[in-house]
């Protein structure tokens, strides 16, 4: 079963400051945690892909009726709703996907405490089952 684990900029509780206001060693601990989690999932044969996306400042929205597209550049007032990054995993069960999402959600933040990032868990549609 393949799942996308998605995280948005707004998925952290009120009061958690942006990363550039953390202590440098708190940032390092967070990044190390994410890398280690990816390495562990890769090691177990569960990681398909993990990517971080560029910041909302570089986002563009495109709409077209078939003619010249209408391109909207940032900054966006609702940038909290934008995707920050994702993991695609291939696991045996929904329970395992939730377990991995929970690990990601508890990534360390300021003071080394879990930031409680909200993770959106979405199963990827597959071929017809026989």
């Amino acid at each position: 079963m393949k799942f996308m684990l998605l995280q948005n900029y707004g998925g952290v509780p009120e009061g958690v400051p942006p990363m550039s206001e953390w202590a440098p060693e708190e940032i390092e601990a967070h990044i190390t945690f994410q890398k280690d989690l990816n390495a562990e999932l890769r090691e177990r044969g569960e990681l398909v892909e993990a990517q971080a996306l560029t910041a909302p400042a570089l986002a563009k929205f495109v709409v077209s009726d078939g003619g010249a597209p209408v391109v909207t550049d940032g900054p966006f007032p609702e940038s909290k709703e934008l995707l920050a990054g994702y993991r695609m995993i291939d696991v045996e069960s929904t329970e395992r996907a939730i377990e991995i999402a929970a690990r990601g959600s508890a990534a360390p933040g300021p003071g080394g405490l879990p930031i409680k990032q909200s993770i959106e868990v979405r199963e990827v549609m597959g071929p017809i089952e026989h």
């Binding site: 550039s20 206001e21 953390w22 202590a23 440098p24 390092e28 990044i31 390495a39 971080a52 910041a55």
Partner: protein, 408 residues
């Protein structure tokens, strides 16, 4: 011993293959079929040579076997169509011309003006460097099927172009050589700018780029820009072991452990550069190599000759008109004449670089040097929000955090 011989065979094959391919393409015209035929010949060679020893003329052997496959293919095509007239190709006719010229012709073809840089890179790695489609796909984090399609479309574009294969006319060569050098440098940077973990496969791209530059240099030993590019890549690559922490986070030049720099690469780069500069036709790769050499030969960061580097960036900026060079000149100016002088140079670049993250990162650095902590934090944050590189984003965010903590 068997293993040693197999490795030897592989090295030999990788050197011989592009020359054989060039000769077969020249003889039969069809790049795609010629490549398949040479691939088959290489597979035959890797088993036969390891077991029975290397032929006296490896390139000739490959050409002969590949040409026979081409002839067989043409015969069976003709038979299928009920004709027998065009199968008379004699494999012996496909002899290599001057070896190095053939390889160069192949590189010129792979960097054909009809191709986008991404396609030219893929094709060069496939046809000249001899990487498999899987390896190229891994290196660029693209599925194998996508990479195979990109390469196949590139071949079609070349086939459809008015001048499919062969040396470009004399007056076009300088421009085509510039494309070749640019493709090689792009391959190098692709490998150099990413580092550890899942990106390990990419690091090998730098080694491939250096190998390709050596091949071009064999064909054009007197060209100072070819030597300049090779020197630049060696001098840059010499810092590989020092430029990032084990977890992949970047370490800025002035904080790197210079004992980790590769002396052999530095020595070779410096010697190549001295020889190239002696020829008196200075180009952008030689200038960039000269700057890299200034850093490489400073025993400590504090010993860096910023005045010399400033002069070199000035020349480079005039030569290329590239505003990114202006950013580096601003840094060199700040190091030579103080941060305010550097900051006022940046003001001139504002209009040209708009919101580019490197403009913000440079300004942040110079503001920090000048003691403007608040301004530096704001610029580091803006730069972090605009970069497209994850290690760089981590670095910039951490710089902002470090100053923020110091401010208290």
């Amino acid at each position: 011993m068997g293993v040693g011989r197999a490795a030897e065979t592989e090295d030999l094959l990788r050197e011989a293959a592009p020359r054989a391919l060039a000769a077969v393409v020249r003889r039969f015209g069809d790049f795609s079929d010629a490549e398949d035929a040479v691939q088959e010949a290489m597979i035959a060679a890797s088993t036969q040579w390891s077991a029975q020893g290397t032929p006296e003329n490896p390139v000739g052997w490959l050409i002969h076997v590949a040409s026979r496959r081409m002839t067989d293919r043409i015969r069976s095509e003709a038979a299928r169509r009920g004709r027998e007239d065009l199968a008379g190709a004699d494999p012996a006719e496909a002899e290599p011309s001057s070896d190095n010229d053939d390889t160069l012709a192949l590189m010129f073809m792979c960097c054909h003006p009809a191709l986008t840089p991404a396609s030219a890179i893929a094709l060069t790695l496939r046809a000249v460097a001899g990487l498999t489609t899987t390896e190229i796909g891994n290196a660029f984090l693209v599925p194998e099927a996508t990479m195979a399609q990109r390469i196949s479309r590139a071949k079609q574009s070349i086939k459809a172009s008015p001048e499919p294969f062969g040396m470009p006319a004399e007056d076009e060569r300088p421009e085509r050589l510039r494309s070749v050098l640019r493709v090689i440098y792009l391959i190098f940077n692709e490998g150099y700018l990413t580092s550890s973990g899942p990106d390990l496969a990419r690091a090998e791209l730098s080694a491939e780029a250096i190998r390709l530059a050596r091949i071009v240099r064999l064909a054009l030993p007197e060209n100072p820009e070819v030597a300049g590019l090779l020197a630049l890549m060696l001098l840059t690559d010499s810092r590989r072991a020092a430029r990032a922490r084990p977890d992949g986070e970047l370490i800025p030049l002035e904080e790197q452990d210079r004992a980790l720099w590769d002396r052999e690469e530095i020595d070779e780069g410096v010697a190549l550069l001295a020889d190239a500069l002696g020829k008196g036709a200075v180009g952008e790769y030689q200038l960039q190599a000269a700057i890299a050499a200034e850093h490489a030969t400073a025993a400590r960061a504090g010993d860096t000759n910023w005045r010399e580097i400033l002069g070199l960036y000035g020349l480079l900026e005039r030569m290329t008109g590239n505003p990114m060079v202006g950013l580096n000149r601003a840094i060199a100016t700040a190091m030579a004449d103080g941060p305010q002088a550097g900051l006022s140079l940046l003001e001139d670049l504002d209009g040209q670089l708009e919101d580019h993250h490197r403009l913000h990162a440079t300004r942040a650095h110079l503001l920090e040097m000048s003691g403007d902590t608040d301004g530096a934090i704001a610029e580091y944050r803006t730069a972090a929000s605009r970069t497209t590189s994850l290690p760089e984003q981590h670095y910039l965010t951490t710089q902002a955090a470090r100053l923020n903590e110091r401010r208290g």
